[in-house]
Amino acid sequence: MNPKVLTEDQAFKLLAFLVTSARLCVVEPENYGTFRLIDAASRLLGFLLENEEARDRDFYAHLQREIEDNKLLLLSDEEAYTQFVGDAAREIARRMKTKSAAQPIDV
């Protein structure tokens, strides 16, 4: 059984961030969109880490650190930023595969 790892307040905060970011994306420079999304991911990870019941805490902490250390690359080195988000996506996929191998498939 999956533990409940977000409170309604945390989910609402994330909702507010996503909706207001969508509003800003209409007027902000195009590449800010990717920044808002990765920032939202970091906030989500922060909420997950606030909850003792979250199971994959080391992974969440690692990914959040990676995001915080690298998200501002967008402003100084777009190529390095692209590399970083690509690596982050790869890490997520790797984690997905590990998780799916560890869990029985529901039939």
Binding site: A16, F17, T20, L24, E28
Partner: protein
């Protein structure tokens, strides 16, 4: 010493101390940094009044003073403002929302001028705050419509820029700036400024 004399001494001492702790303008301009790691020390009402009073003395075209300042310190309102402002980082102790008060029939020109004045007011706020030992960060990334709703702004009053404020334990390192020879010219564009 009677009570009146005592009070006078205290007032003089406070004024002298304030004079001592405020810094030279050029030093404040040079040393101010973007601060997002604030301590939880509240900002005194008197300091906030000084900061707002400084902002009031910024330049204003035709002395129209179309800026309006809303100081948000109440935790619940502050949290709501933070939640609809993806550009706010950290937990500021106060947020000054600088608004433009538009005239009934504002032109694009009016809007542009008012926007410039708001920017200057924000810098004045940041410098005044810094000279009092208070850090700041300017924020433009917020959902205007949501802020209007939260702060009950009347029609024609538009939130334009935030300055988040709070005491800080340390200042970030200064970012690199382009050398003057690259950005300043003598008489004509291209003739580099010689220091």
């Amino acid at each position: 010493m009677d009570r009146r004399a005592e009070k006078l001494v205290v007032v003089c001492l406070a004024q002298w101390l304030r004079k001592e702790i405020t810094m030279d303008t050029l030093e404040a301009i040079r040393r101010r940094r973007r601060v997002v790691n604030f301590t939880d020390r509240p900002i005194e009402q008197s300091a906030m009044t000084d900061i707002l009073a400084a902002a009031r003395w910024g330049p204003s075209a035709g002395n129209q003073q179309r800026w309006r300042f809303i100081v948000v310190t109440e935790p619940e309102t502050k949290e709501m403002i933070c939640d609809v402002s993806p550009g706010i980082y950290g937990t500021p102790m106060a947020i000054i929302v600088i608004c433009m008060k538009q005239r009934a029939r504002s032109s694009k020109w009016d809007y542009w001028i008012a926007a410039c004045e708001v920017g200057i007011a924000a810098q004045t706020i940041a410098l005044a705050a810094f000279s009092l030992g208070i850090g700041s960060c300017m924020v433009v990334s917020f959902a205007k419509e949501a802020v209007e709703q939260i702060l009950d702004l009347p029609e024609g009053v538009e939130p334009s820029l935030f300055v988040t404020l709070g005491y800080h334990s340390e200042l970030p390192e200064p970012p690199e700036r382009l050398p003057l020879s690259e950005i300043a010219f003598e008489e004509r564009y291209g003739k580099r400024w010689k220091a």
